[in-house]
Structures are given as C-alpha cells and as structure tokens.
Symmetry: C2
Subunit: 164 residues, 2 copies
DNA sequence: TTTATTGCAAATTATTTGCACATCA
DNA sequence: TGATGTGCAAATAATTTGCAATAAA
C-alpha cells in the first residue's frame, strides 16, 4: 500500500504542476495522470486510454491525446517515437534515453550522461546539436541478440562489414 | 553530360541488381530508380512519385511504395524515419547516418565509422546493439542553432542541466 | 503463356480537428 | 458566468491492400 500512496502523491504533484501551468483539473485528466504514474513508464496513447477507461469508460481517446499534449506542454510528460509511427509517453521525471529493441519491443532506459561523449563528438565534428531525447535508439537487445544466434537482423548494418 | 552518363550507368546497375534478385524490369521501376539516382539522395515516397510522374503520369503512388519496398528487399535502397511518420528513401551505396535538423528539415550525412566507437561503447555497457542506420539522429543544425540565438528549442534537453 | 506487376479504389493506422455541449475556476 | 475542456464524428496523413487488368520473361 505504500507504493500506492507514493503513486497518489505523485499524481497530486503532477496535477499541481498542471494547474500551475494554468490548466484545469478534470476527471479525465486525473485518470490519465494516474494511469501514467501507475504504469511507471512507457505507454502508447491507446494504452493510456484503455487504462483510463477501466475507471471511466466515457473518457475518449481524443481526450487522451489532447491531455497528453497538454501535459507535455506543461513539462510533466515526454513522448518519444519508437519507429513505425507509434509514439510512447512517460512522465518526465528523469532524463534518459531509450534503447528500443526492434525484435522483442522492450525498452531499456539509459542515463543521458551515457551518451554525452557521443553527442559532444557529433556537435563538435558536424556542427549539429543532437537531441535524441524525443527519439528512441533502435537496435537489438542482448537477449534477442543471443536468441538469434549472434546473427543480428539489424536493418542498418552496424555489423562489421560497414562499407564506411 | 558526363554526370548524366554516370547516372544512366548507375540506373542500369541498380536495375541489374533488381533483375538478379528475380524481379522484373518495368517502366515504372525504371523511372523510380532513375528518380532516386538523379536526386542522389533523400526523397520521400511522394517526392519520388512526383519526379516519376513528370516522365509518366500514369505511375501510381502505390506502385512507388511497392517498388521502393522491393528495391529495399533487393538491398539497393534503404529507408529511414525522420520523425513524424514520414520516411525517406535513398540508394544504399554508402553506409552513413543521418543528422536531421528538426528546425529547417535539412539532412546531413555522416559516415558510419564516425560513430562506431561510441556505439560500441553503448553496446558493451548496456548489452544492446544499436542500429541507427534506419533512423535519423534528430537535432538542430549549426545554422539554425545560430539563427535562434543559441537558444536551442531542442525537445530533449541535451542542454547542460542534464538531471542525469 | 503464366506469373509478376500495376492502377485504382478502398482499407488501415495513428493522430488531429470542428463543433455543440459539459464543467471547472 | 464564462473560458476551458470533453465527447463524438469526421478529417488528415502516410502507407497498405484487394482485385481485376496488364505486361514482362
């Protein structure tokens, strides 16, 4: 029950920040924030809708999209793209990047600092400021790598035979 | 005119590879390949269609999509996602990553080798094999960076105040 | 000939929008 | 009360698919 209380607290926090951004606190918004907090992570808009509708079936998917956008503009939610059109949303508590396994669909988070060097290199060498924050890094996780007999089907060719 | 001849040659090469993959050489396919070669780079499916239709208006967008997929399966074309749903296609001649400026929409290519070391590090640390090949690295190019008075609106937070 | 390809229209998927009604501050 | 938010249905945008007609090998 303690985690439950923590969750409730977090919900209140988020709603407070929403309110302080000049937005109203409504029932759909309460449910949507609660769903995000409960999931503790990555959800598609539709997954949010399903979770919310378990509590209140009248909440419409369009409202979920609009609320998610509002939450994002208020800085409490972030969305990233996993590739083929679908976006996933999560609370903006920690700054991290996402490693998305194209094989099993798992999402691993890595601290932003992990890629600082990479970004610095790109910025320096190519006069370009990367912002992977809203984008996942696609690839294959170790699990799937092992399963497929070290024969990664990775669509790019990160493999040895890079033609450079 | 020399570059024209080179282009023609390249078109023949690509069509040959397509044929050797067991596919038929048709008029739409000739035009589509020619468009990709002429553009020398990144095009959306619709841009390809427009270019093709300048030569033969009867070629349908659906055919462009199907041909692009066929070309990709034959290994002569690659597509990457720039973010919001749109995919871009290009010939698979050189292995490179794409730096996509979210502000002006420009795409800069960087050789794959440039980031290999860094990615290898990620792979080692997180047991994950990235394949940015089919994905662009989003961010802001130097131009737009300067234009916006060093006040990057980059959605992630690549900025100093990383919360780690 | 006979199987791959094409054109066209209709279907999908993910998301957005117009609008009249409901509701929060 | 009066602006903000909501449900619903319809609109988009990008891409895919069924199918009968067409063309390559």
């Amino acid at each position: 029950m303690t985690s439950h209380e923590n969750e409730d607290e977090r919900v209140v926090q988020v709603l407070a920040q929403l309110a302080s951004s000049g937005h109203r606190i409504t029932n759909p918004r309460r449910h949507i924030v609660a769903a995000l907090v409960a999931a503790g992570g990555h959800m598609t808009a539709e997954e949010v809708a399903v979770a919310v509708q378990a509590h209140d079936p009248s909440v419409h998917l369009a409202t979920v999209y609009r609320t998610l956008e509002t939450l994002e503009r208020s800085g409490v939610v972030i969305h990233i793209h996993l590739g083929h059109g679908r976006a996933i949303y999560h609370l903006a508590d920690s700054s991290h990047y996402h490693l998305y396994c194209q094989v099993c669909g798992s999402v691993q988070e890595i601290p932003q600092a992990a890629l600082d060097n990479l970004f610095a290199t790109v910025a320096r060498s190519y006069d370009f400021e990367p912002s992977l924050g809203h984008f996942a890094i696609l690839g294959t996780c170790g699990h799937c790598m092992a399963r497929s007999g070290s024969k990664g089907r990775n669509s790019g060719g990160t493999s040895p035979e890079s033609i450079a």
